[in-house]
């Protein structure tokens, strides 16, 4: 399949997924009890007249399909909608937070890739106690909740040693890197441990393959064999897992965001769901779905570089 055709098919698939997801999410929100009224009327509640006026103003009592179609229509005109809880355009809410989320996820992804692959390869190639140690560490990393890691990191590196700030996302550039270092570590530990185990298994499998044995028998340098025959062939499962992990980090960062007082998309989504702020929920879900599809498209393209036999968009 040509790159153009692949792109067209992917985009079509993306639009279909977006439509279906938005419909399902909208429907689920609609069915769940509760309303955003509490957040519009304020702490003293409201009189019957006030409640009626607000309900009419924001169309809270309109039938499901009317509201969904209205939302869809706005979206097609490029309008993500209006947050009735924040009295702000949803696009402004998202653009204020997407930078933090992207920086955090990018740093965490880098850590996961480097640490996960290095540790997994090291464990598989060295074997023995190195393997034992790495596997044990990976098990601990997988089973420790990220907020515990976050609190521990703050206690040691921010309060104890004073190397890092305790919270926030900084003012851009290096400052942001310093601010996001601890949250990125907290976010990446479990995924890095998971990737290490996948890498270890994959490398072990490749090492036993015939072509590797042949290369060894032919007397090729061990480093060359590892790089060109073992690692390269192990990369397909590794990249697959890495792609899926990164896509889930965006929404999964909510716990870490809370511990480090970062306001990213994850926190925004969770709050919006509980406040029944439909427009915000829908918009964040759209961003998540797009991110998921994009990451997977990148993974698809990467496959063709890792293994030229794989054709873009093929089912193999």
């Amino acid at each position: 399949m040509s790159f153009g055709a692949y792109l067209a098919r992917r985009t079509g698939g993306l639009l279909l997924v977006l439509l279906v997801t938005s419909f399902i999410v909208f429907g689920l929100l609609y069915l769940a009890p509760g309303s955003p009224l509490a957040f519009i009327l304020g702490p003293r509640g409201g009189t019957t007249e006030q409640i009626a006026a607000v309900t009419a103003q924001y169309h809270l009592n309109d039938p499901f399909f009317v509201r969904y179609v209205a939302w869809l229509g706005d979206l097609l005109r490029g309008d993500l909608g209006y947050s009735i809880v924040y009295r702000q355009d949803v696009s402004a809410l998202i653009s204020g937070r997407i930078g933090t989320t992207l920086a955090l996820v990018a740093m965490a992804a880098l850590l996961i890739a480097v640490v996960g692959i290095a540790a997994g390869t090291f464990a598989a190639l060295r074997g023995g106690w190195s393997d034992q140690l790495t596997s044990t560490l990976a098990a601990i990393g997988l089973s420790t909740p990220s907020f515990v890691i976050g609190v521990a990191l703050i206690s040691v590196f921010a309060v104890g040693l004073g190397w890092f700030p305790t919270f926030g996302s900084g003012g851009g550039g290096m400052d942001t890197l310093v601010h996001l270092a601890l949250p990125a570590v907290a976010l990446s530990v479990a995924s890095a441990a998971y990737l290490a185990r996948i890498t270890r298994a994959s490398v072990l499998e490749e090492r036993g393959r015939e072509h590797v044995q042949t290369a060894t028998v032919r007397g090729l340098a061990p480093g060359y064999i590892v790089r060109h025959h073992v690692l390269r062939n192990s990369l397909v499962p590794i990249v697959t897992v890495l792609g899926l992990t990164i896509a889930t980090l965006i929404a999964g960062a909510v716990v870490v965001e809370n511990v480090f007082a970062l306001d990213g998309l994850g926190s925004l989504l969770v709050r919006a769901i509980l406040q029944r702020d439909f427009a915000v929920v829908q918009a964040v879900i759209l961003v998540l779905v797009v991110a998921f599809v994009l990451v997977n498209a990148v993974v698809d393209v990467l496959y063709t570089f890792i293994d030229p036999r794989i054709v873009l968009g093929s089912r193999k």
Partner: protein
């Protein structure tokens, strides 16, 4: 709604809180071992003398709006208090002084004349006019206003500019709550031109704000921070800020907030309930913790009189069985005062002696024998279901104390956990209250008049979920009574009925917990931080 909420506190914090409580158990003194003395709460802190570049303050969550009429909550009011002046200003001791109105006169009970101060300008330089005042108040009147303070404006007939510097408010009937509310954000004045230009976006990160306060709104970075800049042209020369800038962060997680305070990453924070890491703050040599006069109280509301709580003898028995001294120690780490009535001593803004005498007749001491007798008299009571806010240590621990108290006198008390973001629905959505007999909440009246709290129990008030109406006569009489002594008599009568009948059960008075880094000092320590410029007096300490 979250002004009544406890911000995120995980189960871990609950455990940590219990552990810390154990460490700080006070030696039993004559006051029952309390570390906070009700008679000795602070109103101010030593003013800092040095100019400072930037003061970094933390809020428990990001404000939803900074438009004063949408600010009825801790974080919102903490910010707006420094931005927008009210007609009347609340002093740190909770009494009042002239604000934007140089004088307030009441030629008769239903007419109030506000004469505006000369030479007051908005941040953009435009002068404050009677038009701005009329606009700021007018938009909060009427049946369909969305102002959070609408209930204070229910008796307003008209608001008119009667001279270039004079605004006259006519009431349909005398209303002492309206006049006192002018010292809160309800009486905050915004620029008419700016508010009309921004429309719905006024007070949001997009729409900005235009007021007259000692700080101006420099930037609101949605999700990150709110930045204020000192207003050098502030009309009250004594209150021109010593800090050039004031920046608010939004750390919701209490342990992170405590760590940020300990490391100096933030310079201060007001806690409306003592945080789980209170001892860490008390022991830190980076910060000073001050407990301030407060109108905040911790209470158990009732939502449904068809169940176990419908019989007043059961409510009385439960109240008698609660060991409030233990509750303040366990739940609030000693930084709380057992409550005998809902409105505590800090509400006695007038006729203090009369209130004090009436207060002296009530006791917070548990009496299990009498409680058991009341339960026996009432016969079998249906199980009582209390809503508990999820992931809140304070809620869970209080529920444990109440359950234990119920068990001791043979009452079956069950709990139902509701997530923090949905907990607010309990306040106004009858469907959310179905199957629930009561819930815990912090709450406060807006100014030092016990009537503002007891008004909740007027049968017409939105807080009165059960339709309880035994004090209506006294409450309506008090609201329309402009004579202090006569009003005090009605309020005290209402208090007597409410404290005996217990439509809500008082649990504890909560002082303001103010934490300041030792490099600065001067923040207002009392509840007035919600409605008057508390940061103007902050300066550097040598």
């Amino acid at each position: 709604m979250s002004r009544r909420r406890i911000t995120v506190a995980t189960a871990v914090l609950a455990v940590a809180g219990l552990a810390l409580t154990a460490c700080t158990a006070q030696p039993a003194g004559e006051e029952g071992g309390l570390s906070v003395d009700l008679t000795n709460l602070a109103t101010t802190t030593e003013p800092g003398t040095q100019a400072v570049e930037l003061v970094k303050w933390n809020l428990p969550y990001e404000p939803m709006s900074l438009d004063p009429m949408y600010t009825f909550n801790y974080a919102e009011n903490t910010v707006v208090a420094n931005l927008c002046d009210s007609l009347v200003r609340m002093k740190p001791d909770l009494s009042t002084e002239p604000g934007l109105a140089a004088s307030v006169e009441q030629p008769d009970d239903t007419t109030i004349v506000y004469t505006l101060r000369d030479g007051v300008a908005f941040w953009d330089g435009s002068p404050l006019t009677a038009e701005d005042v009329v606009y700021s108040l007018q938009r909060q009147t009427g049946d369909t206003t969305t102002s959070y303070f609408a209930s204070y404006f229910q008796n307003v007939a008209s608001i008119t500019a009667t001279a270039a510097n004079e605004v006259t408010v006519k009431l349909t009937q005398p209303d002492v709550l309206f006049t006192q509310a002018m010292a809160t954000a309800a009486g905050a004045i915004v620029s008419k031109a700016a508010a009309e230009a921004a429309g719905d976006a006024f007070g949001t990160p997009d729409g900005g704000l235009q007021c007259t306060g000692p700080f101006s709104l420099a930037a609101w970075n949605s999700g990150k921070s709110i930045e204020l800049a000192a207003n050098p042209g502030y009309w009250d020369h004594a209150m021109v800020p010593k800090a050039a800038g004031l920046e608010f962060s939004f750390i919701a997680d209490e342990s992170t907030a405590v760590n940020a305070l300990r490391t100096g990453d933030v310079d201060g924070q007001f806690f409306y309930l003592p945080p789980a890491g209170l001892t860490q703050l008390e022991q830190s040599d980076e910060v000073t913790t001050t407990y301030g006069k407060s109108l905040v109280f911790w209470t158990m509301t009732t939502t449904n009189f068809d169940g176990g709580l419908g019989d007043e003898r059961i409510r009385q028995a439960l109240s008698l069985a609660i060991d409030r001294a233990a509750l303040t120690k366990v739940v609030f780490q000693g930084a709380g005062i057992p409550a005998t009535t809902l409105a505590g001593p800090d509400y006695w803004g007038y006729e203090r002696e009369a209130f004090e005498e009436a207060f002296g007749e009530f006791s917070a001491e548990p009496d299990l024998e009498q409680a058991k007798a009341l339960v026996a008299e009432a016969g079998t009571a249906a199980p009582i279901v209390l809503a508990v806010q999820g992931s809140s240590a304070v809620h869970e621990q209080t529920a444990n104390v109440i359950q234990a108290a119920g068990q001791a006198i043979g009452l079956d008390i069950q709990t139902k956990v509701i997530p923090v973001e949905q907990f607010g629905n309990l306040y106004f959505d009858p469907a959310a209250r179905e199957g629930i007999d009561g819930f815990f909440t912090t709450n406060y009246g807006s100014f030092a008049d016990a009537l503002d709290v007891y008004q909740f129990f007027a049968s017409t008030d939105s807080h009165n979920y059960t339709g309880w109406d035994l004090a209506d006569e006294q409450l309506f009489a008090a609201r329309a009574e402009t004579d202090d002594a006569a009003r005090a008599a009605s309020v005290i009568e209402a208090q007597q009925i409410i404290t005996e009948q217990l439509p809500w059960i008082p649990l504890a008075y909560e002082p303001v917990t103010l934490v300041q880094n030792d490099r600065i000092s001067g923040a207002t320590a009392s509840f007035a931080y919600l409605y008057a410029p508390w940061a103007a007096t902050i300066g550097g300490v040598e």
